[in-house]
Symmetry: C2
Subunit: 112 residues, 2 copies
DNA sequence: TCATCACTTGGCAATATAGCCAAATCATAA
DNA sequence: TTATGATTTGGCTATATTGCCAAGTGATGA
């Protein structure tokens, strides 16, 4: 029998779960946070300074990443330090850069 | 001197470029498409059947993936076949699944 | 206890995304 | 040329996301 893959049931649930993680990573500030945390933990204030947005905005970005399972928070006194929960997240960017290089190559050669 | 990373200039542009790629992947149907195309090229109609949405909706998802540099389209007669431009996209999912497993483990053990 | 620092949460307006239908293209067959 | 099948595009509404300000919470120090 021929098996036809469909976006239903288990497949659908799996793709929705993956999309949650991808969505959490689909924002410049959040990508910056992940990149920065690859160098070690940082508190909210440090990240806020670097990003240059309101601290409430940064706090919400961190909450999104945490909800997706990408970050862990560690409250120490009045400060909250965040770090990567799953460091392999960084492997993403090698491929993302490869895509971007392809795009660049294409745009140059076609002068679109 | 101490170098402080900031989300400005080149860094900002880089993160925005990455976010474009991640955003393109941040949707269940588009993730399904990428997964399906890892098995070989497919035309719009085939994908539409599998996804079960309007063909115009699927066409727009494909346009998003193409614009991000993830897919290539190949017009043959009246049909358009899509395939992955950068197969390493698939490496993503190993890590995404690792995140999801962590999340699962956490939720079970904490019974949140 | 009160003030302050570090952060989170609520609320809101601006913007972006998703999905459907209808209409437009474009290739091919009659 | 006309009809048909495959796909894209325009337009519109519903929904989601973003980012700021203001207010709330919690720890620490005076």
């Amino acid at each position: 029998m021929k098996v036809i893959r469909r976006l239903t049931g288990q497949t659908k649930a799996q793709m929705e779960a993956r999309a949650t993680v991808m969505k959490a990573l689909a924002h410049p500030s959040r990508l910056f946070i992940v990149d920065e945390l690859s160098r070690g933990e940082r508190c909210v204030f440090e990240l806020t300074e670097m990003i240059g947005a309101d601290v409430s905005t940064v706090s919400k970005h961190l909450a999104v990443l945490k909800a997706a399972g990408i970050l862990i928070d560690d409250k120490r006194g009045a400060q909250v330090f965040y770090r990567l929960r799953v460091p392999c997240i960084l492997n993403f960017f090698g491929c993302v850069e490869a895509v971007l290089e392809e795009v660049g190559r294409h745009n140059v050669s076609e002068a679109s």
